[in-house]
């Protein structure tokens, strides 16, 4: 990990690595953690109400707060193994060899540290808080870095929606994995059609012209940049391929960014509903089985609603089945007692 220390908290174009490259390094680190099975935590840190602060006090305060937060993150994490970068208004911090509990301690340190700071704006001192979403790889099974990022971002959103100034550790891995799988399937389903009928763009040159021209222009640029001769065609081809791969990755990131930005309040509602669907999926499987059973016994119709009692009611496999049975009995007795009191007694006592 020490090789990454120089990549910490780099974001501007003057720096050695771009945010996309640091994210690539994070992906590499994540893959390594998955392969060698060591714990790793991603913290997605966001400054609360940053836009409003910027509107009120200008972009200077924004830079001041960002700088202070990066400083705080550096001091709160181990310099040797924390990797961070700016992504939009969020800061990503990847901390390998750390369990979720350790990340909670670290997050608390950052929250406390930020609360203690004051910023000077036009002679007035202002306090700023942050929210943090956390995700870890301690969960069984394989999943991608992007899932980790989405889970952490979801945690940040919950933290912000709850008023900010808090750390939320999200566990929505399954939800985002399923969502990603669905998106991949949709893209794959849509791809052949797109290939068959590319969308015409007004004023754009024909596809064949682009295909013919791009390698030629790219090759010339690379030759100029690296001083390659006509004999270095193998090296040129390799560099060309790397450039194209890198460009595609950048385009993919940009596309993802645009998609994220286009999500609105409706999307939030859809996600809430999808979460509920995920939670209910097991019950639905059981319900289908129960409906099948009911179909085979056509003479006995217990009603659809009754089937849900079978599916969602108290199962003998429930770890607290005895306790719950006892509680049901107590509720029932209390209601019987209540009926008796109502039926017989005066209504003045509580």
């Amino acid at each position: 990990m020490s090789s990454f220390s120089s990549a910490q908290f780099r974001g501007s174009q003057k720096d050695l690595f771009t945010p996309a490259q640091i994210q690539h390094l994070m992906r590499v680190e994540f893959d390594r953690a998955q392969r060698y099975r060591y714990g790793l935590v991603l913290l997605v840190v966001g400054i609360d109400r940053l836009e409003q602060l910027q509107d009120l006090y200008g972009s200077e305060l924004r830079d001041q707060v960002h700088g202070a937060l990066v400083g705080l993150l550096k001091s709160a994490t181990r310099a040797s193994d924390a990797l961070g970068c700016l992504l939009d208004d969020r800061i990503l911090v990847l901390v390998p060899h750390t369990p979720p509990e350790g990340a909670a301690v670290m997050a608390k340190r950052v929250l406390d540290g930020m609360r203690a700071l004051t910023f000077d704006c036009d002679g007035r001192s202002t306090r700023v808080t942050v929210s943090i979403g956390g995700a870890h790889n301690a969960r069984k099974g394989d999943f991608a870095f992007d899932t980790l990022l989405e889970v952490g971002t979801a945690g940040l959103k919950v933290a912000r929606d709850g008023g900010g100034n808090r750390y939320v550790h999200s566990e929505l891995y399954e939800f985002f994995e399923k969502k990603r799988a669905r998106e991949r399937a949709d893209q794959e389903a849509a791809a052949p059609a797109a290939v068959r009928a590319p969308m015409p763009i007004a004023g754009a040159p024909a596809a064949a012209a682009i295909g013919d021209g791009v390698p030629h222009i790219l090759g010339e640029k690379i030759r100029d940049m690296f001083g390659l001769s006509e004999n270095d065609s193998a090296l040129l081809a390799k560099i060309e391929q790397e450039v194209v791969t890198s460009a595609l990755r950048e385009m993919k990131l940009e596309l993802e960014k645009v998609l994220v930005e286009s999500k609105s309040e409706h999307q939030r509602q859809i996600e809430t509903l999808e979460r509920r669907i995920t939670k209910l999926s097991d019950s639905l499987g059981m319900t289908e089985a129960e409906l099948q059973r009911a179909l085979t016994q056509k003479t006995v119709d217990p009603g659809v609603a009754s089937i849900y009692k079978t599916v969602q009611g108290l199962s003998s496999n429930d770890v607290q089945v005895q306790l719950k049975k006892a509680l049901m009995s107590k509720i029932f007795e209390a209601n019987v007692e209540l009926r008796k009191k109502i039926d017989t007694g005066p209504q003045s006592t509580s």
């Binding site: 409003q52 509680l327 009926r339």
Partner: protein, 352 residues
């Protein structure tokens, strides 16, 4: 007296199963979760047309929720529940009818089939009196075949399977109910109810605004809407600037600190009640209880409330951890539905 409903001759025979309902009958909102998958919530307002003209205009005998609120000038308008129970004032009979109609409406919205029985669990405030419970039962029996009451905060905890060493705070409009869960049925001593809840915030906010901006004109409904949109207890909450009419002209007012103060006004009584329930618990388990405080009900949507509660618990009780339920509006109804599902069939039969 609670009387059993007799099926009149010619009524559809109810022999095609049971629809289970979990109902949270609240001062501000009434919610239902049902075993056929329906979930509905309606503001707890009921209105009857004032006269024949209003009846002809509205084309309805009774209006509910936001529709009733909107047309309230043409209606005999009722908010049948106060402090979590059916009002027992000079309009007691009318309130009871309004509560029964409200329950009927929420049950209708859960879309029961004519040929199925309806069994319901209704959440009642933790310390409701027998008279109040009787009124709720009476209202419910007009629409369901079997009904049970249970404590509201208990149903919230049951719905989340948090039955051990948990302290539930259910912040409604009329009451804040606290319930100590310790792996058994909570007794009277495990539950506390106070009236520092949503309505109290509305009242406090009205007073504060009236004191600071006497020229501003507003109604309780306007205050309620402002609270629902902007409620926050954080030190650095976003500014709340609203328009109130002043002599007919909309005028902007900055009420940030008033909103914060009003929202914060429910916290000290809550922490005091928490202290009471924690302090009277087995000393060995007090820390566990403190670290599992579950915040539910509409009031739990106040932004930053959990952090503020933790801060004040830290000051007054030496620490504590607060969690929020995922679905504040349906937490009570979901829990009540779970109880309805888990309740053995013979118990339901017995209470028919």
């Amino acid at each position: 007296m609670v009387e059993k409903k007799q099926a009149p001759e010619g009524e559809t025979k109810k022999d095609h199963g049971v629809l289970y309902l979990g109902i949270d009958l609240g001062t501000s909102r009434t919610s239902v979760s049902s075993s056929n998958g329906m979930r509905e919530t309606v503001s707890s307002y009921v209105g009857y047309p004032k006269d024949v003209v209003a009846r002809k205009l509205l084309q309805k005998d009774v209006l509910f929720g936001d529709e009733a609120l909107e047309k309230r000038l043409s209606l005999d308008f009722y908010r049948p529940l106060a402090h979590g129970v059916i009002r027992d004032d000079k309009d007691a009979e009318r309130n009871l009818k309004a509560a029964a109609d409200l329950l009927g409406e929420i049950i209708r919205r859960s879309k029961p089939r004519k040929d199925e029985l309806v069994y319901a669990v209704i959440g009642a405030p933790a310390q409701a009196q027998i008279k109040n419970k009787e009124a709720i039962l009476k209202a419910a029996r007009q629409h369901v075949d079997s009904v049970m009451l249970c404590s509201e905060p208990f149903s919230v905890a049951y719905g989340l399977d948090m039955l051990d060493d948990t302290l539930v705070i259910d912040i409604g409009a009329g009451t804040t109910d606290l319930c100590r869960m310790h792996g058994t049925m909570p007794e009277e001593s495990d539950q506390l109810t106070n009236t520092f809840a949503g309505d109290h915030v509305d009242e406090t906010l009205s007073k504060l605004i009236r004191a600071k901006f006497p020229e501003a004109q507003f109604t309780v409904q306007m205050i309620k809407q402002i609270k629902e949109k902007h409620s926050n207890v954080a030190d650095n909450m976003p500014p709340v600037v609203v328009n109130f009419p002043v002599k007919g002209k909309p005028t902007p007012f900055d009420i940030t600190s008033e909103v914060r103060s009003a929202c914060r006004s429910i916290v000290p009584p809550m922490v005091e009640a928490l202290g009471e329930l924690i302090g009277s618990f087995d000393p060995e388990f007090q820390d566990r209880l403190k670290n599992r405080v579950l915040l539910g009900g509409g009031g739990s949507m106040i932004k930053g409330l959990d952090v503020e509660l933790e801060r004040q618990m830290h000051e007054m009780l030496g620490g504590g951890k607060v969690m929020r339920v995922e679905e504040p509006i349906y937490g009570g109804a979901n829990g009540a539905l779970k109880i309805a599902h888990d309740m053995p069939a013979e118990y339901w039969e017995h209470l028919r």
